[in-house]
Subunit: 459 residues, 2 copies
């Protein structure tokens, strides 16, 4: 019977002393005169299996020449292992080559740099690091769905191609079926001839559309790709990334923060429980102290403090800031770091100056701030941002005019305030930012299977 | 205490004779001299709640003027209801207006056509039909994740912007940051100046990239958006839709079909269990017999039959076909319908003529067919398509040449066959096609929150 290593490791005791067949790949291969040792993995778990064979096996000479990277089937009994760190190994009675691999296979059992592996993105999930990263990506994605579905939130697939721009400022990718060579020959660009009969682009956020679902289902969330055509070549920017954007009706900023906190703890706990080997690996080889960081987060009480107070704290600090903190202004990375250290844990910074925030945020009675919140976590800075949404039709229109925003094309969004609108809130979390936090891997290119960045679109 | 209707209906007995507060919207409002009856929904469940108030309530005159569509909070005791079809109703002690709604609110408690509601896509989830459709969409999406995650499949986020074209034939949307007005002024289109330094488009399938994950994790699945710039204005075509594309290593066509069958039954069972009210509603008002259809599917054994045999059956049939069936050719809708009726259940049609199938499909020893499969289900036709993938490097290259396909840019895909390649298979299912099948709603525009179709990109 063919078994996944995952099943075997989930029920170790059941499988001990049983004969099984496994199918997967040779990660390493040591041969001696009378014995061979295959470091075997089938990718279904972070754990490998040691397969031992001796010269009594059929085709000993053939098997002992199997290359690293080859696909094999191996049958044998799982016996207790004398080797430390593994409960059992397989004493193979049969090993069959399923797919060969040449000796110049680029993924050899040695340390490869992440830059080298980035160029071989299609092979890197076969290495321990990336195998762990992309499994955690999968498990964390599921944790997000489980959290919201258990609470009855409706999963909303926001449209990707759009004719509206959420933030009013995002740099967007244009989507077109116009033949650019032919466009060159025309007097002007005729969008009537484009696929949708107008100019369209890839979405930068599904929030506005998600609000329409919140006012129908009370609680909704998106989880889908978003795009930014920003020409930033940094460790934290990608042109294509996944976002989670929950929206809740009858929910004010306090309840919004409750959900942000509960969701984050749920995801981190879930990943720690389901991927203990992966987390141990990151803790040992990627970010020392990662496990403590995550454990502490889960048991923290997240502090809630006004932006104004944060600035006061920063101003009082005996530090020479590169960017001096100012009331009414945004805060810099150095401030984020200081403030999480000051409170020794995650901090919600709330009630931000309205002039540095988006048009749709709820205007506070002070006339200066909006009911917006950013979550700052130790070691990662801003992890999520949210706000109560302005539910007052007139105030919203006025704010858009102040910001020189066109209201045309957004009548549906504005109408939500007329047709049974109510207090509602939401937030957004970049999925890759979360993964960087959970895995300790620093570069966003290393938590996306096939990253898209300026001048780079391979595979 | 504020409670979601969902929670109340999940634990009806606990809540009976308790005081609760609910927050949601007025769907209908009948007033009498001494009583008022509000048909209330908060969107968290398909079920509504009848809220009864009498003239002893504060502000009786004000409340009795509340408009349909308004957001309210209502507090009261849940008492057994004499009315058929509802276990309890609320005797309200307090009703507060949270958000008004004008009398010309377009969603009135009467039958609206689907075409009318399509133009009001942002309000239609507030109607019973669309509330049910998009909740089922959410629940079905979760069922898919649950099915694969329970089996240890790794969820793979395929890239959306791509420089390669999976089928070699799909009509694609171009993605660009070139300024089309400026392109007009240039001698030629210079893709070096485009965002990625080359011509890029929106993906039509994540399969090829998913294969790289299958050969690392053994079992993987995608669930994400895909795009087709096909100028088809039919009930079943959308330009942006979601696909599920599982890929499994060490898996032949038979095992592929096992998973297709098991997955479909899992999703349908899950939705029937979690959304019984929605399914009853579809059965009564959308497609008579829907529930029987789904129940029968779940208990069916799916027949497996070769394409060649299907053609023989069709040829023998005493029917004057609009499109005469031919060996070596594709089958038409009328044939799909006949064959599911012939076998009285779902049918896997396998081993298709190679010339009408994609280059990556496993070539059978007969030299004429490939190990491809389509699943035909009664009442819906083709629901999924899959194949064993060609794992032989030379055969794959030869086939690509025969089909005049360029291999450049696909070296990574071809290399999968060199580097420990093995027997592997996968399939694809259009998520919206599944939803059309499960809900009985015929038009793809009615199962996507904000559909994109030729000349139509609103919201």
């Amino acid at each position: 019977m063919v078994r996944d290593l995952r099943d075997i490791y989930l029920k170790e005791d059941e499988y001990l002393n049983c004969e099984v067949t496994v199918q997967g790949w040779i990660r390493n291969h040591r041969k001696q005169k009378e014995f061979g040792f295959i470091d075997f993995s089938d990718g279904t778990t972070f754990n490998h299996l040691q397969i031992v064979y001796d010269n009594k096996i059929d085709n000993f000479d053939v098997i002992s020449k199997f290359h690293i990277g080859s696909a094999i089937s191996a049958t044998g009994v799982l016996v207790s292992s004398p080797k430390e760190g593994q409960k059992f190994e397989m004493q193979a009675s049969k090993i069959v080559l399923e797919g060969d691999c040449p000796e110049d296979y680029p993924i050899q059992p040695k340390r490869h740099t992440r830059e080298f592996l980035r160029d071989l993105a299609y092979l890197r999930p076969r290495t321990n690091l990336f195998n762990a990263v992309f499994r955690v990506r999968s498990v964390a994605a599921y944790a997000i769905h489980e959290y919201f579905q258990n609470k009855g939130f409706v999963y909303f697939h926001a449209p990707l191609i759009t004719a509206s721009d959420c933030e009013g400022a995002g740099e967007m990718f244009q989507v077109t079926t116009l033949d650019l060579d032919k466009v060159r020959e025309c007097k002007e660009v005729d969008y009537n001839k484009d696929f949708f009969g107008k100019q369209t682009a890839l979405t930068v956020s599904g929030q506005l559309q998600a609000e329409t679902f919140a006012l129908a289902y009370k609680n909704t969330y998106t989880f889908g790709p978003t795009f930014r055509a920003e020409n930033s070549n940094t460790k934290t920017h990608a042109s294509e990334f996944w976002m989670i954007e929950p929206e809740m009706a009858f929910c004010d900023l306090d309840k919004d923060m409750d959900i942000m906190e509960e969701m984050l703890k749920y995801i981190v706990s879930y990943v720690m429980k389901k991927c203990p080997e992966e987390i141990d690996f990151f803790d040992s080889f990627v970010e020392k102290g990662l496990k403590d960081k995550l454990t502490k987060l889960v048991s923290s009480h997240f502090i809630r403090v006004d932006h104004e107070e944060v600035i006061s704290i920063l101003k009082k600090a005996d530090i020479k800031w590169e960017f001096p903190p100012e009331y009414g202004e945004d805060i810099a990375k150095e401030h984020e770091k200081y403030i999480t250290e000051y409170f020794n844990g995650p901090v919600f910074i709330k009630n931000w100056p309205k002039d540095i925030k988006a048009f749709y945020m709820k205007q506070n009675p002070d006339g200066k701030t909006v009911a917006a919140v950013d979550l700052e976590v130790p070691g990662a800075g801003e992890l999520m941002g949210g706000s109560q949404r302005e539910e007052d039709y007139d105030k919203l229109i006025r704010r858009m005019k102040e910001m020189n925003m066109a209201t045309e094309g957004l009548d549906w969004y504005l109408n939500l305030r007329k047709y049974g609108g109510c207090v509602h809130s939401g937030f957004g979390m970049g999925f890759e930012r979360l993964l960087i936090y959970i895995t300790g891997v620093e570069n966003i290119r290393d938590v996306i299977p096939y990253p898209r960045t300026p001048k780079s679109c391979d595979y």
